[in-house]
């Protein structure tokens, strides 16, 4: 048994470290995620509030006005002998101003001594939720969303079908020179894509595919190094006894893949599907070059960017659109984060 005091100071030290480290991480995280608050707050303002916001509040606040004898007057918090009152300023003066009480407009105006410039205007929270329907409509969100979804889903189907087959080939079949082929496959990860870009573009132009979704979808039907690697690592961990038993029962290789390998591999298949989905959702360069001049076919990335160039003077709509554009991938991420995390760890650490 150690001395009571020693035990105590050790727990105290660990407690202090825990607090310190967790506070540090929390501070960094809050700073890191702060721009999201900026986005939400700005997307709820109107233009006037944004301009005024440079001096005043970060929140979507409106100054309160009161209509007196046909004109709008700003309402201020006025300190009086009877406590702070909310009064509408009807006559501004250097040393003396006149106010009217919105509750009793018929009563005599209140005369207040002092500079009105020192007074705080009365504000009220007024989020402009209407920015969202406006952004939705102006950016043609349903159209862009549909385009993105189609490109992402068909590409996802393509990369899943092909990458599963290729990973299956690497893990279950005797292919001569398999290790060399695998090295080449992994090598394509560090190949700068520009070196294949121009001939591929020229080829797609020649066969008339530019201006369609095909160049964004069809190449994914020929697998991809990251996805093959991820699936291969997983397939290697599956016991061979099951597929051997199926083979002795006369199952064809396709049948074994479908009924034995795939049912055991859902976590990794989901991860690969999600990676492709997020990749396609965010992809900018390829839609930019292949869908130029086709505003009805572009995905969100390109469509929102065009919108942002046009509406640079409407920050509230830009932020509302940014929120619309990121919502689906972020929601999917939170629901499926387990698959994401595991997948990244495999591709990053094991190579």
């Amino acid at each position: 048994m150690t001395a009571y005091g020693a035990f105590d100071s050790k727990t105290f030290r660990s407690f202090r470290l825990k607090t310190l480290i967790t506070l540090l991480a929390t501070f960094l995280l809050v700073t890191f995620l702060m721009p999201f608050s900026y986005m939400v707050v700005t997307s709820l303002k109107d233009k006037q509030q944004i301009i005024e916001g440079a001096q005043g509040s970060v929140l979507p606040l409106d100054t309160v006005t009161f209509n007196y004898q046909g004109k709008d007057y700003n309402v201020y918090n006025v300190p009086t002998s009877a406590g702070t009152r909310q009064l509408a300023l009807i006559r501004k003066g250097q040393t003396e101003s006149r106010f009217v009480d919105p509750a009793h407009p018929a009563a005599d105006p209140v005369v207040w001594q002092g500079s009105w410039r020192t007074l705080e205007p009365v504000t009220v929270l007024n989020p402009r939720l209407t920015n969202f329907p406006e952004a939705w409509q102006r950016v043609q969100f349903p159209l862009l969303f549909f385009n993105t979804l189609m490109i992402a889903v068909f590409g996802m189907i393509g990369t899943l079908l092909s990458s599963i087959c290729v990973a299956y080939a690497f893990t279950r079949f005797p292919i001569p020179g398999k290790n060399l082929i695998f090295m080449i496959l992994i090598g394509t990860i560090i190949l700068p894509r520009q070196v294949t870009l121009i001939p591929t573009f020229a080829f797609f132009t020649r066969i008339g595919w530019t201006g369609t979704w095909l160049p964004l979808i069809v190449p994914h039907f020929f697998s991809n190094a990251y996805n093959v690697f991820l699936l291969r690592q997983y397939f290697l961990t599956l016991p061979r006894e099951l597929d051997e038993a199926a083979m002795i029962d006369g199952a064809s290789p396709f049948r074994i893949l479908r009924s034995v390998i795939i049912p055991q591999s859902y976590p990794v298949i989901i991860a690969v599907g999600l990676f492709h989905f997020v990749y396609a959702w965010n992809n900018y360069f390829e839609p930019l070059i292949y869908l130029i001049g086709k505003p009805n076919l572009v995905p969100l990335s390109v469509g929102i960017q065009i919108f942002n160039y046009q509406f640079g003077s409407e920050p509230q709509l830009i932020q509302a659109t940014a929120l619309l554009g990121m919502s689906l991938p972020v929601i999917i991420f939170f629901f499926a984060q387990r698959f994401f995390m595991q997948g990244i760890v495999v591709t990053g650490v094991e190579k």
Binding site: Y168, Q194, G348
Partner: protein
């Protein structure tokens, strides 16, 4: 036939049908491999060779049917192209800070999140990763607002402390810091990979070091860093390639004009404009091959130096 491979199916059958089976297995192997082989040929190998061929022609998409061989003309043009010099300079100047950042910040964050004193590690990990899935177009819009001169929160925060923030994206001095800040949202991926590899370092090593009287910083320097050096190395290679491909963020900020004052005319933007704005596919291919060769040389160089500082615990060579 003696050495029957027990790991392969069909060992129960007679030897003649076993070899028949082996042949069939080989056939099926090629069938399943074929998507990659076809894709590699048509979308990688043939285009690489073709882009080299194109770089010796005057192929322009404005006149796609008139292609002549022009010898080394495009390569001579490299030396007369004033924008190329600017774009290389921009890329290197930017990379000088962005490359170390792309390793050190995720590493530092991973070390923090790996601390045994951190409560709710999983939550922090998820939330630090999250901005990585935010589409670049949204991230750039958000950061552009955050960094705007009068209404952006960063400058308002500076004003709160009595300072005066710069005009970030329109100022020659501040555009790179702005780009580094925007790039912070992409650190989640590398952070996660490093975190996982930190968790893979055997705890016995730390215990042994502590017995020998090592301090926490010694542990990081003599155990943690060597043990995760392969992951650092791999990400460094990817960051270098990524630097030459840097496109989306600067392009969205300046519509590819390279503003302010050509500071964001990065290599890949110059290539894009050559090939897709001016439709000069031939000179674009030349730039692509220059990029390919530079990336190749740097990668080989990294692999060479990597021998001295990358430590493979299992004793295996290369990646």
């Amino acid at each position: 036939m003696t050495a029957v491979d027990l790991s392969k199916p069909g060992t129960l059958a007679t030897t003649s049908s076993a070899s028949q089976l082996a042949r069939r297995q080989k056939f099926w192997g090629f069938v399943f491999l074929s998507p990659w082989v076809i894709g590699f040929l048509f979308f990688t190998l043939i285009p690489i060779v073709t882009s080299l061929v194109i770089s010796f022609t005057d192929f322009n998409l404005n006149k796609p049917d008139e292609i002549n061989f022009v010898g080394l003309e495009n390569y001579l043009k490299l030396f007369k192209d004033p924008i190329l010099g600017i774009s290389l300079q921009d890329t290197l100047r930017f990379g000088l800070i962005s490359l170390p950042m792309s390793i050190l910040l995720p590493l530092g964050l991973a070390l923090l999140l790996n601390s045994k004193y951190l409560i709710a590690q999983r939550l922090f990990r998820t939330l630090f990763y999250m901005p990585y899935v935010v589409p670049t177009v949204s991230a750039v819009a958000i950061w552009r607002g955050m960094l705007s001169t009068d209404t952006g929160w960063i400058n308002r925060l500076i004003a709160l402390f009595g300072g005066r923030g710069p005009d970030w994206v329109n100022s020659v001095q501040w555009i790179y810091p702005a780009l580094y800040i925007i790039g912070l949202w992409g650190i989640g991926n590398v952070m996660l990979i490093m975190l996982a590899s930190l968790q893979g370092v055997p705890t016995e090593l730390y215990e042994a070091a502590r017995v020998d009287g090592a301090r926490p910083l010694d542990e990081i320097r003599f155990i943690t860093l060597p043990m995760i050096s392969p992951v650092i190395f791999y990400n460094l290679v990817l960051s270098v390639i990524g630097l030459f491909q840097y496109f989306d963020i600067p392009y969205m900020l300046s519509a590819g004009r390279g503003d302010p004052a050509n500071t964001t005319m990065f290599f890949n933007i110059h290539l894009y404009k050559t090939a897709f704005t001016y439709k000069d596919m031939a000179y674009g291919s030349t730039l692509a091959w220059v990029l390919f060769l530079m990336a190749f040389v740097i990668t080989v160089f990294l692999f060479r130096t990597g021998r001295h500082w990358v430590f493979y615990a299992g004793g295996e060579q290369g990646q």
